[in-house]
């Protein structure tokens, strides 16, 4: 019998070899997806369904003086038209940023902000009616950049925030930085920029609401976070949460872009309540760009002190985030740009300052890697430059100064398993690094002209340690129901966005109960039928739902074990579950089928249902701001990129990426491989071509809200990928598993930037690394100027007094030090 019934540390140790975990099973929904039978949100049709279109602002910043919907209402086939007045209660994903309205009430803040919505018999009619709505605007000055956000305090885009248009301004200091810098042999400072980009899921967001005659609302939506949508609906619609059911349909790609509650979800719900008919909206691609919540553009300055051998003595990191028009996850994003610098290499003293500004653009939020690819890019390029100054091999400088496993960082993140060293060794060996990297000697290069190689590493959380709204309940719950026919149904609020989270539940339950994963019915992401899981974000699902599923399955197994042991008169500890049987390990022919075992248990205990839940361990950090960064475990990745740079054009071709990922343990290796390869793909796109850019001098329009002009790599741009999975089981992960959905993206952009430098000797200190930038830097180099393209400085800003925390090494307890009055 398992001893891992407590969930928190359940790592699924069972007697006998693993039969499901670690095996390349098909996903439980693979056949549906390959036959066109998966029902995405826009595939659902209800009788008498109306169609919704939302009128969006064509002004980037304006006061709404008047809205006249009379012509739209007069169109035959139109059933309702609503404006911001119909939905006055604000919402937002974070409790501290309740700054959105389903439809703008008196102010629009970016082109694309919705102001009115129509429900009509078909989409054509809704579209025609939408275009008859007349809105009178009074323009306001626009805020279009980080610099303007810092400099221009009036007009304020929002009436809340730290000051002016600075939404959030934070400063944290861990340990004595001056002492750290004084110990350094070399202090280096770099300024880098990471352009914003967007998720671009192939499925455009869609939602269908049905308010039934009994006063219950059901919403089907392509959301990654049905639980948070549920809360937002209850708040904005004034309905009891118990009367609302949110069903997250399979997401046709998410990547973080479907993690906020969205205005269109609330709007169709309201329209359904008003009309008594189902109401659907399917956004156009352009509207998906306006939903955004993608990667924040971040300007960064990093200053690091190192010893001659590359050991870091202190690091001072500043980030400036262009947040767009709303809060979204932005406060968390801001902290994330400063959180994970410390978990890869030992950073004994660390300071972070971050500022997020509001601008008149679609809101930024969490995209794959949430707030960490930008500082990771800065840190890894910066470290490459340090390695060059110290004449150290960039692979070795990393390998020699890894953060130790089972340790607490300067900023109070508890590292458990730590497989980065193995990842580096794998990619160094696999890429033949030693025979390709020229040791900073430009005159004796090992690779051909124009070819270059670069390395970078990274780490990512396996689930946020804290929920988005404060509570002490579990982050993930699983309910398991076993019936007398031998059927097993696992129910969980988690949402499959293509990563295979539904399958993970089945694999884990199947492993524990000794049945086939395809015997199991998986019911997920339905707030009426499934216990809460916080959602598919922060790479939390495998670890958290996996642990919850493990607990539920072990509890069920325990009930079955007792009943079967009694029936067979064998000791409990002798019973094993495998191949749909429960049997005596000493006399394997003595046993019952799994279905018989359920009958025995049901006869003995009544209906068999068990629950499992998971709450992450408490973080050692107790200071304000300690909520972002802690995680039950950290995944690690290392990547080597080999590139070809055409010096005449500046065009960079990434030929191959070798990537090692510390997965802890693969629940299903083929799905892990898919996540690694997909992450490399997305990192490649961000590194070379993807960007959300606006024409500030043309009314702040998005330059190209289309799939044609937002450049997503095709098969012809995708590089070869050589993947190594490093399995260093983490005690907090189910069967030792850690995340893989986001982490492997992180090392790709800096590895490419470092490889470009190796190839042609120019530093491109911002992504995307476009040919224009490479060519500009090459021309500067030819003229004897600094061979670099990138930002030169960061804006002047009044940082708040830093919140000071002694590091664990300094004897700190994770609490803020009392502020001491400074005498002049």
């Amino acid at each position: 019998m398992s001893k891992n019934g407590n969930g928190g540390n359940g790592n699924g140790k069972n007697n006998g070899p693993l039969r499901v975990v670690g095996k390349p099973f098909r996903k439980v929904d693979a056949r549906q997806k390959c036959t066109g039978q998966t029902k995405f949100a826009d595939d659902i049709v209800l009788p008498r369904m109306l169609h919704c279109k939302m009128l969006r602002s064509h002004e980037p910043h304006a006061v709404i003086k008047n809205i006249d919907v009379s012509k739209a209402l007069a169109v035959p086939g139109v059933h309702a038209v609503i404006t911001g007045r119909d939905l006055p209660i604000p919402y937002g994903i974070l409790p501290v940023s309740q700054d959105e309205h389903p439809l703008c009430v008196d102010r629009v803040r970016f082109i694309g902000d919705p102001v009115a919505a129509v429900a009509a018999v078909d989409e054509d009619t809704a579209f025609d009616a939408m275009n008859l709505i007349e809105v009178e605007y009074e323009r306001l000055q626009t805020i279009t950049s980080i610099e303007e956000g810092v400099m221009i305090s009036e007009p304020r885009i929002h009436e809340y925030g730290d000051h002016g248009n600075v939404h959030k301004n934070v400063s944290l200091e861990f340990g004595d930085l001056d002492e750290g810098f004084a110990e350094a042999d070399l202090i280096r400072e770099d300024v880098l920029f990471y352009e914003g980009n967007t998720h671009l899921p192939m499925e455009q967001h869609a939602a269908l609401a049905h308010f039934d005659p009994d006063g219950k609302l059901t919403l089907w939506s392509s959301t990654q976070t049905p639980h948070y949508v549920h809360r937002a609906l209850a708040k904005t619609l004034g309905l009891p949460a118990s009367h609302i059911r949110v069903i997250a349909t399979p997401n046709g790609g998410g990547f973080g872009g479907k993690s906020d509650p969205f205005n269109h979800e609330i709007v169709v719900s309201k329209l359904s309540m008003m009309t008594g008919r189902p109401v659907k909206i399917a956004l156009t691609r352009e509207e998906v760009f306006y939903c955004h919540r993608g990667r924040h553009p971040v300007l960064m300055k990093v200053r690091t002190g190192v010893k001659k051998d590359g050991a870091i003595t202190a690091m001072d990191f500043q980030s400036f985030l262009d947040g767009g028009a709303y809060g979204s996850y932005g406060v968390a994003s801001t902290f994330y740009t400063g959180a994970l610098q410390t978990v890869t290499y030992k950073v004994p003293r660390y300071k972070f300052r971050g500022a997020r500004v509001f601008t008149n653009k679609p809101p930024c939020g969490p995209k794959r890697g949430h707030g960490t690819p930008q500082p990771r890019f800065a840190l890894e390029v910066h470290l490459d430059k340090i390695a060059e100054e110290l004449r150290l091999d960039p692979a070795e400088i990393r390998l020699n100064h890894l953060a130790p496993p089972d340790s607490v960082t300067a900023n109070y993140l508890r590292i458990g398993s730590m497989g980065l060293g193995k990842c580096i060794e794998k990619v160094v060996e696999g890429s033949d690094w030693k025979n390709k990297f020229s040791g900073w000697d430009r005159d004796n290069r090992k690779l051909a002209q124009g070819k270059g190689i670069g390395i970078a590493c990274s780490s990512y959380i396996c689930g946020a340690g804290l929920p988005i709204y404060w509570n002490s309940m579990p982050h993930s719950g699983v309910q398991l129901r076993l019936d007398r026919q031998g059927g097993v149904c696992v129910q969980c609020g988690s949402t499959d966005i293509g990563q295979g989270s539904d399958s993970i539940l089945a694999y884990i339950v199947a492993e524990v109960l000794g049945i086939d994963p395809f015997d199991i019915r998986v019911v997920t992401a339905d707030t009426d039928l499934t216990p809460v899981d916080l959602g598919s974000y922060s790479s939390r699902v495998t670890l958290m739902t996996g642990n919850a599923a493990l607990q539920a399955a072990e509890r069920a197994r325990e009930l079955l074990t007792i009943a079967v042991a009694e029936k067979l008169s064998v000791p409990i500890e002798n019973l094993s579950f495998a191949e749909r049987r429960v049997f005596d390990v000493e006399n394997p022919e003595t046993g019952v089928t799994f279905a018989e075992a359920v009958v025995l248990a049901e006869s003995k205990f009544g209906t068999i249902g068990t629950v499992g839940s998971y709450t992450p361990p408490r973080s050692p950090g107790k200071f304000k701001g300690a909520g972002v960064g802690p995680s039950p475990a950290y995944s690690y990745s290392a990547a080597v990129a080999e590139v070809d740079v055409d010096a005449e054009t500046g065009i960079v071709t990434v030929e191959r990426v070798w990537i090692g990922h510390d997965i802890g343990r693969s629940i299903n290796p083929v799905l892990v491989m898919g996540q690694v390869e997909g992450s490399v793909y997305m990192g490649l796109g961000e590194a070379l071509m993807e960007e959300m850019t606006y024409r500030a001098n043309r009314n702040v329009v998005h330059k190209f809200p289309s799939l044609l002009e937002y450049k997503s790599p095709t098969t012809l741009e995708m590089c070869d990928v050589v993947t190594y999975l490093v399995e260093d089981a983490d005690p907090n992960g189910p069967f030792g598993a850690k995340e893989v959905g986001q982490g492997p993206l992180l090392p790709v952009p800096p590895a490419i930037a470092n490889a470009v430098y190796d190839a042609v000797g120019v530093r491109i200190d911002e992504v995307p690394i476009t040919p224009e930038k490479v060519l500009a830097a090459l021309r500067d180099k030819a003229k004897g100027k600094e061979p670099r393209y990138g930002p030169k400085s960061v804006p002047d800003i009044d940082w708040p007094q830093p919140l000071k925390v002694l590091t664990p090494d300094e004897g700190g307890d994770g609490r803020e030090m009392p502020r001491v009055a400074v005498h002049s």
Partner: protein
């Protein structure tokens, strides 16, 4: 304001090897007719402007974007959608290998990829990796990085040639 269309067009065509009749507003695209008038929602859409490949169907055996074909143009022709790929309950070898190798992650672009891959393998039973890349260059996928898709096409091609092919170990477990 646009005047209400009162007349629907009425056509007959071959759809997944069955003859169908359907009536629809004449300005509708094949994508809209399939999804809305024939309830075949396996054909997805990502832009409706010909910029992503998601809505691909086969028209007389050739891959086309259903978002840019009028429903009227299907008249008397043959259309294959994802729903028509499996024959008599048996998955097409491509569907099998896509499922086995996780080439369908979110699954949204998958119908388009499968149909283009089917068109490719019918013309070229042993495509090289570069030929596969060229053939699939008009379909965007954001999940997979395309690699599992190439591997699935290669594996299916081998099986369709009658080889008893299994995926290489590194496809599933990575390199050692």
């Amino acid at each position: 304001m646009t005047e209400r269309i009162k007349q629907k067009a009425h056509i007959e065509f071959r759809l997944n090897d069955e003859t169908v009749e359907v009536a629809f507003a004449p300005h509708k695209t094949l994508l809209e007719v399939l999804r809305e008038d024939l309830n075949l929602t396996g054909t997805k859409h990502g832009c409706e402007l010909g910029e992503c490949g998601t809505c691909t169907v086969l028209l007389d055996g050739r891959a086309v974007l259903s978002c840019l074909v009028l429903g009227l143009d299907a008249e008397a022709r043959s259309v294959t959608t994802i729903e028509g790929m499996a024959e008599e309950g048996r998955l097409h070898p491509l569907q099998d290998t896509f499922a086995d190798l996780g080439a369908a992650q979110c699954g949204y672009c998958t119908p388009g990829f499968l149909l283009v891959a089917k068109e490719l393998l019918e013309a070229n039973p042993a495509p090289t990796r570069d030929e596969i890349k060229d053939a699939l260059a008009g379909n965007l996928c954001r999940c997979t990085g395309y690699i599992k898709i190439y591997e699935a096409v290669e594996l299916a091609a081998a099986r369709m040639r009658g080889e008893e092919a299994l995926p290489a170990k590194e496809i599933i477990y990575g390199y050692e």
